[in-house]
């Protein structure tokens, strides 16, 4: 199919677990790139805004989730459809060098941008030896 590569991908849930809400969950497409002092993550999540997106970092697993409420379009009947509406979820493992306190996230036009700053190198501690 010509447009297979643009279809939304359903997210995989960890084996043996199920979500409590029976909504479809999609895995957002992401770009991840590394700059000198940060790792940037950009995710396409149409339908989410800053209130419905959620980012957690637990141990070294970064999870982004987004809830999408389907528009209630009264009086309209669906005639044709090519995409499903559902929530988003995707997890990544990140290295320990992320500075957790300075993670920044913005959402604009359904695109989430996450800045994961690298922590400053653990400064070499100088131990002074005192003479007794």
């Amino acid at each position: 199919m010509a447009n297979t590569d643009v279809e939304k991908r359903e997210a995989q849930s960890p084996s043996g677990t199920e979500r409590t809400r029976s909504r479809r969950v999609y895995s957002p497409r992401v770009d991840i790139y590394e700059a000198k002092d940060a790792i940037m993550l950009v995710a396409d999540m149409p339908g989410v805004d800053e209130k419905t997106v959620d980012i957690t970092l637990e141990k070294n697993v970064l999870t982004i989730t987004g809830a999408v409420e389907p528009d209630a379009l009264e009086g309209y009947q669906l005639a044709y459809n090519e995409y499903g509406t559902g929530d988003y979820q995707r997890s990544f493992t990140v290295s320990d060098e992320i500075d957790r306190d300075r993670i920044m996230a913005t959402v604009k036009n359904g695109v989430l941008r996450l800045t994961l700053p690298k922590s400053e190198k653990v400064k070499a501690k100088k131990i002074t030896v005192r003479a007794e």
Binding site: V6, D31, N81, Y83
Partner: protein, 138 residues
């Protein structure tokens, strides 16, 4: 259940298996997913998931019963010393033509773009609406 009753006002049920809207080309090249249509009696609503596009980079044109949506999305430009770990999002131009089962009132088409979703309302042209004929009886 009348699945598409309002749509088929001027089409027979035998045509139901065929989509009432023709797809000319996939919206796909920009890696941007696709659209859906909804219909009301005299309105059609087309929605498209188009994350991360400037509204000024979207173009909607209407001729007769066809609506063409086109636009483009810029790729992020990496600075010196930056490198991709993964690149899954698409960029580039796309165009899509949707044919409705009625003529569109081009002056009354409206569109809004919110949270990366474009919603276009396409009202049916006045002269294309079915006329109700009054029957006189004496």
């Amino acid at each position: 259940m009348e699945e598409d009753g309002s749509l088929t006002g001027d089409r027979g049920p035998s045509q139901r298996n065929e989509p009432s809207f023709c797809e000319n080309q996939p919206l796909g090249s920009a890696g941007i997913s696709s659209h859906e249509h909804l219909v009301q009696d005299h309105n059609a609503l087309v929605t498209a998931e188009l994350p991360g596009i400037d509204a000024k980079d979207l173009d909607i044109s209407v001729i007769g019963d066809a609506m063409t949506l086109s636009g483009h999305r810029e790729a992020d430009v990496l600075k010196e010393g930056e490198s991709y770990h993964r690149q899954e999002r698409g960029s580039g131009s796309f165009a899509r033509t949707v044919r409705l089962p009625f003529r569109i009132e081009a002056d009354k088409v409206s569109a809004k773009y919110e949270r990366g979703i474009l919603q276009i309302t396409l009202p049916r042209a006045e002269e294309d609406k079915p006329k109700k004929i009054q029957i006189k009886s004496k």
